[in-house]
């Protein structure tokens, strides 16, 4: 019988120790047969560049992947946007109620040049803004740097994304929310529950130390535990553990 996934972690073992214990448990369960095999988690999904997106065209998909890679790069501690499959999250968002602005008031007249203090005023849905925004940015890169975004070298990509994030790429008024939407959606894909397609393996939660759906933290209000790090890894809504 497989031990409870949390059982080696209780008692504040050091992280290396309980990781080893958990892996051992999985291997035994794997030998035990079919029912337990399900608990090993889903097989690794297709690499991003082999996926057929639901919304983005092949050219947009390549560009979105490259943008995500700059916005949350793989270098340094913590996973990058690609390892956590942020582009998959954004693609799914585009075909859901968010991409279609289904909950938003979209009646005219529209005044997309209005003071930003009055909020979103574009006549376009987020999906339309992504489509037009990506095309605009691609053109801007060509005009400014002499090549499309994905053909730029790493330093130039960084500079181009900096200009985009500063809203300094001559976006027309109805697209002015594109940089904010892109950055927010990237962070959402990185840090939201994996059921939405991003935060693959809950790697971003493990990195920052967010435990996800563990329901009851009452005992952690005890003053004796104020300086004790939380010992357990995250749990997703679908019950995955990392």
């Amino acid at each position: 019988m497989r031990p409870h996934p949390d059982s080696p972690k209780l008692g504040l073992l050091d992280r290396r120790g309980f990781l080893g214990a958990a892996l051992g448990g999985t291997a035994i369960a794997g030998i035990a047969g079919g029912a337990a095999a399900q608990q090993e988690g889903p097989p690794e999904p297709l690499p991003l560049d082999q996926l057929t997106p639901e919304f983005f065209t092949p050219a947009e998909w390549v560009m979105l992947i490259a943008l995500c890679d700059v916005l949350i790069p793989a270098d340094g501690d913590g996973p990058g946007a690609l390892e956590t499959r942020v582009p998959v999250f954004i693609d799914r968002q585009m075909v859901g109620h968010y991409g279609r602005a289904e909950r938003w008031y979209m009646e005219g007249p529209h005044d997309p040049d209005a003071s930003p203090l009055k909020g979103f005023q574009s006549p376009l849905t987020p999906a339309e803004i992504y489509r037009a925004g990506l095309a605009h940015f691609q053109d801007w890169c060509g005009r400014t740097h002499g090549a499309g975004f994905t053909d730029l070298d790493a330093d130039t990509r960084l500079a181009a994304v900096g200009a985009l994030m500063d809203n300094d790429v001559d976006l027309p008024a109805e697209l002015r929310d594109f940089p904010d939407f892109l950055l927010l959606n990237v962070k959402q894909g990185y840090l939201s529950d994996p059921r939405h397609g991003g935060n693959h393996g809950m790697a971003a939660w493990s990195y920052i130390g967010f435990p996800g759906a563990r329901a009851n933290f009452l005992s952690w209000t005890h003053p004796d535990r104020d300086n004790v790090p939380y010992p357990l890894g995250p749990v997703s809504i679908n019950g995955e553990r990392a």
């Binding site: 700059v70 602005a101 909950r103 909020g119």
Partner: protein, 588 residues
């Protein structure tokens, strides 16, 4: 042609906190009651069962429990000569959607206003002289005094199983409580929550500074509790998904956990969901209402006759409905005459975030009311003549949640993306606390609600139009609070801190979330020239229409509004039961 339903004694528009309570109280009179709720039915199970309720994207970004602007929204402008534009996607405030209303997704923070706040204009005039009131500030007395409401505050706190420590019991100051609170006749029904690390750190710091910290009171149960309707609450688990979420654990006080299952057992009560009220219908003389007309989810128009109409919607929607129904004279900001839509006000928020590299705050250990607060800079504690503003604030530290997208607070100068951002979230998640100021907002002659001339809802009705901006009085108040919260943050000796406060150049920004404490529009009072409803929340013009909720606030208090809303609801229920029902007429 509208279908006409059999007549009811009472029709209730909106089944949130106030509609639930009023239905329960009036059902005891044997009246035949129907509640019309435009949103869906919502129950703890299945709507916010664990763990699906912990989905931050769905609740905190896509606002599953909130109204859909496509279906219902308003327009906003900053001044009389400005053009209002629609609030197309949710940001600054989040009215609820469905049974329970905003009472489902609040944090549970519950307060009694200070005594002076109910008679603010009189208090200011008597204490500092009328000349401290700036031109075009339009503050008013509520028409009801704290002493009259005290029993109803007590009853409301017992309904919700309010936790806390009494600070002023019948005029005697109590250790551990808020010494500046209005005197209470009884202690809170439940003791405070245990409080997280950041809250206790703030308590110790504030005490060392000579301030008077106390546990933030509210409706997150600390023990098993049964209220007067037999509804049960269980102890809060600090799950960290409170505000903007439904509570899976029957710990947060909501209409669902405190009233509704008892109400559904009353044989003389009926709820219809997906029933969107278009207007209150008036008799030919305009002096009484005959019922309401609503539209169902499948676009059927229905007339519901009733003897008594209780408008129990969110303040913005109650005001909209009164304007659309032609009840009360619409407010005109150029003359200052008229009452419907008068004195819209909001809440002035600010905070200082402090960062501690060695801390282990574990902010996911969160409860909606977690926190210690101080009221040393409350309305009654400040010399308005000396400081040059009217208002006050309570200041708190607590961790209500550690949701990683919405609550990722990073030090000043952190990049917003790229390698620097990624490093920072690894370094700083769980290493910060926020010293927050929750401040009053006064009423002004040109801050009001009326009907928009351009934009329409899906039924072809004009949208509500909000005219609102920050004023220098309230900016001075919040800048005063900034000095206090920065001093408190510094005293905690953080590695760094940063403040977020409105300044003299700030204008109202409808994009970032601030609070859902939208108040006014139908101010209560004793003068029909300056109030839309009388002190019993009865329309001056149409005596069988009563309006509950924070639309009655003549200006905003320094506190979260729900406590005062709850007390006013029981006060109104008592006026109906003990007086109006026996002899329906204008009570004043």
């Amino acid at each position: 042609m509208a279908t006409e339903m059999p007549k009811k004694d009472v029709v209730i528009v909106g089944l949130g906190w106030t509609g639930s309570i009023l239905a329960m109280e009036l059902s005891k009179e044997g009246l035949d009651i129907v509640a019309l709720e435009r949103g869906p039915m919502r129950r703890t199970v299945p709507d916010w069962q664990y763990p699906i309720n912990t989905d931050e994207l769905t609740h905190a970004h896509h606002f599953e429990l909130m109204q859909r602007p496509r279906h219902s929204t308003l327009t906003m402008r900053h001044g009389l000569d400005d053009t209002a534009l629609p609030y197309r996607k949710l940001g600054s405030f989040l009215p609820g959607h469905g049974v329970g209303g905003a009472g489902v997704h609040w944090n549970g923070q519950n307060w009694r206003p200070q005594v002076a706040e109910f008679r603010l204009k009189s208090y200011v005039t008597e204490t500092f002289g009328a000349d401290v009131i700036p031109e075009k500030m339009q503050i008013q007395d509520w028409g009801v005094e704290y002493d009259e409401l005290e029993p109803y505050f007590d009853r409301w706190e017992r309904l919700i199983g309010c936790t806390g420590i009494a600070g002023n019991l019948n005029g005697t100051i109590q250790p551990g409580g808020n010494p500046f609170e209005a005197p209470r006749s009884a202690d809170y029904p439940l003791p405070p929550l245990p409080e997280g690390a950041a809250a206790r750190f703030f308590r110790d710091t504030a005490e060392a500074m000579g301030l008077h910290p106390f546990p933030r009171p509210g409706g997150n149960a600390s023990r098993a509790y049964v209220n007067e309707y037999g509804m049960q609450l269980g102890p809060c688990t600090y799950c960290g998904f409170c505000e903007w979420y439904g509570c899976y654990n029957y710990s947060k006080a909501t209409p669902q956990t405190c009233v509704l299952d008892a109400l559904y057992q009353q044989p003389n009560f009926e709820v219809r969901t997906g029933a969107d009220v278009m207007r209150v219908e008036l008799a030919s003389d305009g002096k009484t209402a005959t019922g309401v007309t609503y539209v169902t989810d499948d676009m059927q128009e229905v007339f519901q006759p009733a003897d008594l109409v209780l408008i129990c919607a969110f303040p913005l929607h109650s005001t909209h409905l009164m304007l659309l129904s032609g009840i009360g004279k619409p407010y005109d900001p150029r003359t200052g005459e008229g009452v419907t839509g008068r004195n819209y006000a909001y809440q002035m928020m600010g905070s200082t975030s402090a960062y501690f590299a060695d801390a282990e705050f574990k902010p996911f250990v969160g409860a909606g009311i977690d926190g210690y607060s101080v009221l040393d800079y409350g309305v009654e504690q400040i010399d308005f003549a000396k400081e040059g503003f009217i208002g006050g604030s309570y200041i708190s530290v607590g961790h209500t949640n550690g949701q990683p997208i919405r609550s990722m607070s990073l030090p000043e100068g952190t990049p917003n993306w790229g390698a620097g951002w990624k490093k920072a979230i690894g370094d700083w998640y769980g290493k910060s606390l926020s010293v927050s100021s929750h401040g009053s907002n006064m009423a002004y002659r040109d801050c009001y609600l009326d009907l928009d001339p351009t934009y329409r809802d899906p039924y072809g009705r004009p949208l509500l139009r909000m005219t609102f901006d920050w004023k220098q009085n309230d900016i001075r108040m919040t800048q005063f609070m900034k000095k206090q919260t920065e001093a408190m943050a510094k005293a905690m000796q953080p590695d760094s801190f940063k403040s977020s406060y409105k300044d003299a150049d700030s204008h109202y920004d409808i994009r970032p979330y601030q609070t859902t404490h939208n108040v006014g529009g139908l101010p209560m009072g004793n003068d029909p020239a300056t109030s839309a409803v009388n002190r019993y929340l009865q329309s001056w013009d149409v005596h069988n229409v009563f309006v509950s909720g924070a639309s009655a606030f003549p200006q905003n208090i320094q506190f979260n509004p729900t406590g005062a809303v709850g007390a006013l609801t029981y006060w109104m229920a008592d006026a109906l039961r003990s007086d109006y029902l026996k002899n329906p007429r204008p009570l004043m």
